[in-house]
């Protein structure tokens, strides 16, 4: 036997000592066990959907911000850069003009930004290094004045020492939701931190995975999230009722579920202010032409309701989904914002689908919030 043969055999034998500990218990057991609960859950959801969404306004508290009542915020924030430098800029939603640049704390980078319903209050997270665990990610409260200039940058506490993946401030600004990955493979979790008290509420599921996107309804009760599990079902979009319980699956309901969805190439789900719709970016191919769309889905059924905006895919090859990286909704729930790689931002009026385009100088943002 040659050295190569011996090596190949030894490597294979050593590697074979390693198995996925959670897979035998999780994967085979899930299918049969889920049938009955799913049937029950489906029946319950039919009832709950009517109560929570169909009859909303009769039993539930009114949203903190009523769609269409207030004007969209004048300024939004965008984070540009990565690696060793990140910049958060304040921009005018009408012109795209940068009105302020917010530098990160010393020896730190901005990692996420999120707006609140108050057009002058934003939250940002900062860490000494991007994408590293075991370093503290801190929470900062940023306020701007009526002309879009930075007024204050105040540390609001420690967020986590895990690696944060998604972040969204509740519209009333009292809480922030975030997901993170912990040491080793663990269950998917969402933590909601009450900023003033430091109290943490954890929503988790036993399934190993990540929560990759978060988006609040205007009343701060419902939280849309995108769940990536190890089970090969891709990204699932679900809506969590934060008042119902602490189980990420049991206390949430699906909008889009992996391969069963007709919208199978999608990113950046955003919950509407009233919680009735989900907006997302989806790739599409029609008669050989590839495009990227902003879709409106019924949050109760996952059914596509409207194409809010469509832009042809101009890149060679690749995935048109990456034409737009992110989608944001203004706090009043009347407008959406997307930015394309050519340096243009598009404001979409949700009611009329009218689109206005403005310049977005300074590079393509990797996060923005309105």
């Amino acid at each position: 036997m040659t050295t190569e043969d011996r090596l190949r055999e030894a490597l294979a034998a050593t590697a074979a000592l390693v198995h996925l500990e959670d897979q035998p218990q999780t994967v085979p057991a899930r299918t049969p066990r889920r049938i009955a609960p799913l049937a029950v859950a489906a029946a319950v959801l039919v009832i709950l959907a009517g109560v929570v969404f169909g009859l909303r306004g009769e039993g539930d508290p009114a949203p903190a911000v009523s769609p269409g009542v207030a004007a969209p915020a004048r300024y939004f924030m965008a984070k540009i850069g990565g690696g060793n430098t990140t910049t958060v800029s304040v921009r005018d939603i009408q012109t795209g003009r940068v009105t302020a640049t917010v530098t990160p704390p010393s020896h730190s980078l901005w990692t996420e930004v999120s707006a609140t319903a108050d057009p002058h209050v934003f939250y940002a997270t900062s860490a000494p290094d991007f994408g590293t665990r075991n370093v503290e990610t801190s929470l900062y409260r940023l306020t701007i004045d009526a002309t879009g200039r930075l007024r204050t940058r105040t540390k609001a506490g420690a967020l986590t020492r895990n690696l944060p993946l998604a972040f969204a401030a509740a519209p009333d600004g009292t809480r922030v939701a975030f997901s993170s990955v912990t040491k080793g493979l663990g269950p998917a979790t969402i933590e909601v931190l009450t900023v003033s008290s430091g109290r943490r509420t954890v929503y988790r599921t036993s399934t190993t995975g990540f929560v990759s996107e978060l988006s609040w309804s205007a009343d701060g009760r419902y939280l849309a999230f995108q769940l990536l599990t190890q089970l090969g079902t891709g990204y699932n979009v679900r809506i969590l009722d934060t008042r119902a319980g602490h189980d990420l699956i049991r206390d949430s309901r699906p909008v889009l579920t992996g391969g069963r969805s007709y919208v199978s190439t999608y990113v950046a789900p955003v919950l509407s202010a009233d919680g009735r719709h989900v907006y997302l970016l989806a790739a599409a191919t029609t008669k050989g032409h590839r495009s990227i769309r902003v879709l409106e889905l019924d949050a109760r059924t996952g059914r596509q309701l409207r194409v809010m905006y469509e832009q042809p895919h101009t890149g060679k090859g690749g995935n048109p989904i990456w034409e737009f990286l992110h989608l944001a909704r203004d706090p009043t729930g009347t407008m959406l914002l997307v930015v394309d790689p050519s340096g243009r931002a598009h404001r979409i009026d949700i009611a009329s689908r009218h689109v206005e385009t403005m310049p977005f100088p300074g590079g393509v943002p990797n996060a923005f919030t309105w």
Partner: protein, 185 residues
């Protein structure tokens, strides 16, 4: 390599979203995670020696993959990214361990010399232990070539070196391994 390319069905409003074999869906990050986690975990174990550290490295690699999904163009690039991240993560671990040893802290015993050793035949353990005595770069090339069966081009991409360097490093590494195993040059 099996990658699920998920097509689009016709939606209820009649808008056709046919399958497109060129698409790498965001959800395929999940598929990459599901399909390649074990092989990447095993790769990391071979490089760092213990499972707990290997799991951390793989977890970090997938977190990085998720965060950088915007830069990915297709499933192959996602897998290549994940492998590169695992190899780089393992390098960082080994560098840290080197520093720890200098201050007298010993890492976890490797899988082939600890409780699982009994499961490995003596001959195989001898090969693995000899492999661990090779310089880091030579060890990586051999593991990538003889465990993952990667091409020179793929190994070059993961390690950030030229293909010629891959070939010469592999040749020298095999020669050194043979010497350590008493097989002569």
């Amino acid at each position: 390599m099996v990658v699920h390319l998920v097509g689009m069905d016709r939606n209820e409003s009649g808008v056709a979203d046919p399958p497109d074999a060129g698409l790498f869906a965001a959800r395929d990050v999940g598929n990459v995670f599901a399909e390649h986690r074990l092989s990447l975990l095993r790769l990391a174990v071979l490089l760092v020696g213990d499972r707990a550290t290997a799991e951390d490295v793989v977890q970090d690699a997938f977190a990085g993959l998720h965060r950088r999904r915007a830069e990915l163009r297709d499933p192959d690039s996602a897998v290549a990214y994940a492998r590169t991240a695992v190899v780089n993560g393992c390098r960082m671990v080994l560098r840290r361990r080197s520093l720890m040893r200098r201050v007298g802290i010993s890492p976890e015993p490797p899988i082939w010399s600890a409780e699982s050793a009994a499961l490995l035949q003596e001959d195989r353990r001898e090969v693995i232990e000899a492999l661990q005595r090779l310089p880091r770069r030579r060890r990586e090339v051999l593991i990538l070539r003889f465990y993952l069966d990667l091409s020179d081009a793929e190994i070059a991409q993961i390690m950030g070196i030229g293909q010629a360097s891959v070939r010469s490093t592999a040749a020298r590494a095999l020669q050194s391994l043979g010497v350590l195993l008493g097989e002569g040059a």
